[in-house]
C-alpha cells in the first residue's frame, strides 16, 4: 500500500532493488506478511504449523532444485535430510558443541555425501539415476537402523533442543531465516549462468555437453547444494523435535516432499514453497477425514498430473496472464506482478 505514495521513479528504484533478491513486490509483501504471522495469530499451534510449513516449503525448494533443473528426481532426498539431522544430533551429543554448530555440521555432512551421490549418478540418467539415489538412501536408512552404538537404532535418539524456551516463535524465526537463505541462494543460483547450465543438462544432456557445458561438474554441484540444504534443515528439525528415529530417512518422507514440489510446479523453486503453504495446513485441517484425506490427496496428485502438469505455478501464470489480457483494472498493477520476478 505504501508504494502508491512513493514517486514513480523511486518506486522503480525500489522494485529493482527487491528484484535483485529474486522478489517481486508481491513476493516482498508476502514475505513481510509471513514474517509477522506469529504476531497476528499469537497462537502456539499456528506457529508450530507454520514452522512445519516453512520446513516443508524449504525442503520442496531444495528438492525442486535437483528435480526441476537437472531433471533427476532425487528419490532419496529425505535420507539427506535425516543424515543432516542425525549428524547434527550426534555431534551435539557426543562432542557437546552447540546445536547451531551441529546444524552446520549436518549441512556439511550431507553436502559431502551428496557430492558422493552426484559422482555415483554421473553415468546414469532419468529413472536409473532416480533409482540409484533411492537405493543409496535405502542403504543409508538400513545403516542407521543397524549402527546402534552410534544412532541408538530404532529406539530413537534424544536430541537437545535449540532453545531453552518453550515458545515456538524462536524456532519459527530460525526456520524463516533458513527458508529465506535457501530461497535467495537457490534463486540466485538458478538465475545465474550456473542455473542455465543446470537447465541445459536437464533438458538435453548431449546438446548441453556439445555446447560446452561440463555435465559432470554441474550435476555434482547441484547434488551437493541440494543435499547440503536438506542436511541443514535436517539439523534444525533434529533440535526442534527432540527425537530422531531412522524413519526420518525413509521413502515416505521423500514422497511427501516430492508431491509438494511437483504439485507446486517443476523448475520454479518458489512453486514448492507456495504449495507447502497451501498443502501442509490443508492436510492439517482435514485430519478429521482420516484415510479419506489421503485418498483425496492421491486424487489431487493425479488430477494435477493429468490436467495441470505445470502445477500451481502454471495455474498462477494462467491466472495472471488471463487478468493481464482481459482487465483494465490490471494495468496499474502490471509492474507489481512483473513477469520476470519470482513470486
Amino acid at each position: 500500500m505504501e508504494e502508491k505514495v512513493l514517486s514513480t521513479e523511486k518506486k522503480a528504484g525500489m522494485l529493482e532493488l527487491i528484484g535483485k533478491f529474486g522478489l517481486t513486490p508481491l513476493g516482498a509483501a508476502a514475505l513481510l506478511t509471513i514474517s509477522v504471522l506469529p504476531f497476528i495469530f499469537r497462537d502456539e499451534f499456528v506457529t508450530r504449523l507454520l514452522v512445519a510449513t516453512l520446513m516443508y516449503g524449504a525442503l520442496a525448494m531444495a528438492f525442486d532444485f535437483t528435480s526441476g533443473y537437472i531433471n533427476i528426481c532425487n528419490f532419496g532426498f529425505c535420507a539427506f535430510w535425516g543424515l543432516g539431522a542425525y549428524t547434527s544430533a550426534i555431534v551435539a551429543i557426543r562432542l557437546g558443541v552447540s546445536p547451531w554448530v551441529g546444524m552446520l555440521c549436518g549441512g556439511v555432512m550431507s553436502a559431502i555425501v551428496g557430492f558422493g551421490l552426484g559422482l555415483l549418478t554421473i553415468r546414469l540418467g532419468g529413472i536409473f539415476a532416480s533409482c540409484m539415489t533411492w537405493f543409496v538412501a535405502l542403504a543409508m536408512m538400513a545403516v542407521t537402523y543397524n549402527w546402534v552404538s552410534l544412532t541408538k537404532g530404532s529406539a530413537g535418539l534424544n536430541v537437545p533442543a535449540l532453545f531453552d524456551t518453550v515458545q515456538n516463535a524462536p524456532y519459527y524465526y530460525v526456520m524463516l531465516a533458513i527458508m529465506l537463505l535457501v530461497y535467495f541462494v537457490l534463486m540466485r543460483i538458478t538465475k545465474s549462468n550456473m542455473g542455465m547450465a543446470f537447465r541445459a543438462i536437464g533438458q538435453d544432456i548431449e546438446a548441453a555437453s556439445s555446447s560446452g557445458v561440463n555435465p559432470t561438474k554441474y550435476k555434482v554441484v547441484n547434488f551437493t547444494i541440494s543435499c547440503a540444504i536438506a542436511g541443514l534443515i535436517g539439523g534444525f528439525y533434529a533440535h526442534f523435535i527432540g527425537i530422531l528415529t531412522p524413519q526420518a530417512l525413509g521413502t515416505a518422507k521423500t514422497v511427501e516432499i516430492m508431491a509438494i514440489s511437483y504439485i507446486g510446479g517443476r523448475g520454479t523453486i518458489w512453486g514448492g514453497l507456495a504449495c507447502a503453504m497451501i498443502m501442509v495446513p490443508l492436510m492439517e485441517y482435514s485430519k478429521g477425514l482420516m484415510e479419506l484425506r489421503l485418498v483425496l490427496y492421491g486424487a489431487l496428485m493425479i488430477a494435477v498430473m493429468i490436467f495441470y502438469p505445470k502445477g500451481l505455478v502454471g495455474l498462477w501464470e494462467a491466472v495472471t496472464a488471463f487478468l493481464r489480457r482481459s482487465n483494465k483494472i490490471w494495468k496499474p498493477f502490471r509492474k507489481i506482478f512483473s513477469k520476470n520476478g519470482a513470486i
Binding site: 499451534f45 512445519a52 537404532g153 495446513p281 482420516m290 490436467f307
Partner: protein, 447 residues
C-alpha cells in the same frame, strides 16, 4: 475444437476445486481460530455463574496412530477406551467427558503438531494414552510446555525414562508409562525356563540360545533385555538376528538357526503378518528349539493366521481369564466385528478405567476437572501410588510408586503378564505359579 473446450473445462474444474479447497482451508482455519478465541473469552469472561447451568465439560486428548502403518493398534485402543467410557455414559460427576482424538500418524513431528493443536485449539484439559515411544518423547515436550498432565502412555522405550530422569521437574506431567520397559517383563520368561530346567521338566541338549526380533525400538529393546537375562542365567547367546518390519520370509534366518542347533530362541515381532509367518516357518524348517515369541497373540486373529504351528510356543500375554474379561472380549467382538487383542484393546480398556478412577478422585479432592486439579492429583496421588486400580480385566493392580515411576509397578500382584504356552490356539498359563493352568510342556523335538 471439442477437444480444446474439454481441456478448458477440465482446467476450469481443477481451478475451481483448488480455489474451493483453499477457501475451505481458510474458513476452517479461521473458524477454528474463532472457536479458540471464543473459548478463551468464555473462560476469561464468565466464570462461575453460568457454569452451573451449562453442563460442565472435560476434554480429554487421546493420542494414537489412527492412520498410517500402525493404525490397527490405534483403532483397538480407541475402541477399548470408548467401551470404558460408554459404561459410565461419558459422565464423571456433573462433567461430560469429550474426546479429542489426536492422530499421531506414527510420526514424531506430526504428532507433536497435532498435540499442540489439541491443546491450543481444542483446549483439552488433560491428555491420555499414546502408542509409539518416539511420539511420546516429542509430545512430552509439548505437555511440559503447557503443563498439561498426560496420563498413561504405552510408549515403552527407555528414551522416555531417560528424558524423565534427566529433568523430572519439567517432564513430570508425562504421568507414567502404561507399558513398562521390556527388561522388567522379560524376566518372567527366564524364570519360567529356569524353573522348567530345575524341575527336570526340560533337559535342554545345550545351553545355547538365539535372539531374534523385529528391527525397531520395541524389538531391539526386548532382545537386548532378554538376551542379557538369559546370559545371566547361564545361557550363551549363539546368534542375534533382526529383521525388517513386515518381512515374511524367514527361511534364511531359520535355516541358519537350525544349523547352529540352539535349544531356545527368544524374541519378538510387532506385526502380525511377520509373527505368523515366523511361527509357521519354524515348523516348516523343522527347527528343534523351544520358541519364545513375545507378542504372538497381540491381535485377535493370530490363530487364523498361523494355525497349529503355534503349539508349544511361549508368549507373555494377558489372557481373557476373568468373567469380566471374557465379557469384554465378547462385547467388543460383537460391536466391532473382530476379536480384540488383550494388550491393545484390553489394556486400553483397563487404563481407561484407571483414568476414570483418577478423574473421580480429582473431582472428589479438588472439586473440578481442570488441568490444574489433574496436575495436583497426578503429583499427589498417582505418582506416589496413593491411588491404584484393581478392577482390571488384564492385570491385578495398576499402580505407580516414586521408585518405579515412570514405569508401573511390575510384579506378580500388580502389573504382570503371565507366561503362557499355546495349544491349539488356546493360551495355557504356565507362570506365575499362582495363576498356573498347567506345567510347561516341552515338545518332543526340543528335548
Amino acid at each position: 475444437m471439442r477437444k480444446l473446450s474439454k481441456q478448458k473445462m477440465a482446467k476450469s474444474i481443477l481451478v475451481l476445486v483448488l480455489l474451493l479447497s483453499m477457501a475451505g482451508m481458510m474458513l476452517s482455519g479461521c473458524s477454528g481460530n474463532d472457536a479458540a478465541k471464543s473459548a478463551t473469552a468464555a473462560a476469561e469472561g464468565d466464570k462461575a455463574p453460568e457454569a452451573a447451568e451449562t453442563p460442565k465439560v472435560c476434554k480429554v486428548g487421546v493420542i494414537g496412530p489412527y492412520t498410517g502403518p500402525a493404525a490397527r493398534s490405534g483403532e483397538e485402543i480407541k475402541n477399548g477406551i470408548l467401551m470404558a467410557f460408554e459404561a459410565i455414559n461419558y459422565k464423571v460427576g456433573d462433567y461430560n467427558i469429550e474426546f479429542v482424538w489426536i492422530d499421531s500418524e506414527s510420526d514424531a513431528e506430526k504428532a507433536a503438531r497435532a498435540y499442540e493443536q489439541a491443546i491450543v485449539k481444542d483446549k483439552i484439559d488433560v491428555g491420555f494414552m499414546d502408542w509409539h515411544s518416539w511420539v511420546s518423547v516429542s509430545c512430552m515436550d509439548i505437555s511440559a510446555k503447557y503443563q498439561i498432565p498426560h496420563f498413561f502412555s504405552f510408549g515403552a522405550g527407555d528414551t522416555i525414562n531417560e528424558k524423565i530422569k534427566g529433568d523430572y521437574e519439567k517432564y513430570k506431567y508425562w504421568v507414567g508409562k502404561a507399558w513398562p520397559t521390556s527388561s522388567l517383563l522379560t524376566q518372567a520368561y527366564v524364570e519360567t525356563v529356569t524353573k522348567a530346567i530345575d524341575s527336570k521338566a526340560w533337559t535342554p541338549r545345550n545351553m545355547k540360545c538365539a535372539i531374534y526380533g523385529v528391527d525397531n525400538d520395541w524389538g531391539r529393546n526386548f532382545g537386548a533385555a532378554i538376551g542379557k537375562q538369559f546370559k545371566d542365567a547361564g545361557w550363551t547367546i549363539a546368534d542375534e538376528a533382526w529383521v525388517g518390519l513386515g518381512e515374511t520370509d524367514f527361511y534364511p534366518l531359520l535355516t541358519k538357526l537350525k544349523k547352529e542347533d540352539v535349544s531356545l530362541i527368544a524374541g519378538t515381532m510387532s506385526d502380525p503378518s511377520s509373527v505368523a509367518a515366523f511361527i509357521k516357518q519354524t515348523r516348516e524348517v523343522g527347527l528343534k528349539s523351544l520358541i519364545i515369541c513375545d507378542g504372538l497373540g497381540w491381535v485377535g486373529e493370530w490363530y487364523g493366521l498361523c494355525g497349529t504351528a503355534s503349539d508349544y510356543v511361549l508368549d507373555q500375554i494377558p489372557q481373557w481369564t476373568t468373567a469380566e474379561a471374557k465379557k469384554f472380549k465378547d462385547d467388543y467382538t460383537k460391536k466391532y466385528g473382530y476379536e480384540p487383542g488383550p494388550s491393545t484393546a484390553g489394556m486400553g480398556y483397563d487404563w481407561a478405567n484407571f483414568f476414570i478412577k483418577v478423574m473421580n478422585l480429582t473431582l472428589e479432592q479438588y472439586g473440578d476437572l481442570s488441568t490444574e486439579s489433574f496436575r495436583k492429583v497426578a503429583e499427589e496421588h498417582v505418582i506416589p501410588g496413593k491411588v491404584s486400580y484393581t478392577g482390571g480385566i488384564i492385570h491385578q493392580e495398576y499402580k505407580y510408586t516414586p521408585e518405579s515411576f515412570p514405569d508401573p509397578v511390575v510384579d506378580q500382584d500388580h502389573y504382570i503378564f503371565p507366561v503362557i504356552q499355546y495349544f491349539e490356539g488356546q493360551g495355557k498359563m504356565v507362570w506365575p505359579d499362582a495363576w498356573k493352568d498347567q506345567d510347561i510342556k516341552i515338545p518332543d523335538f526340543a528335548k
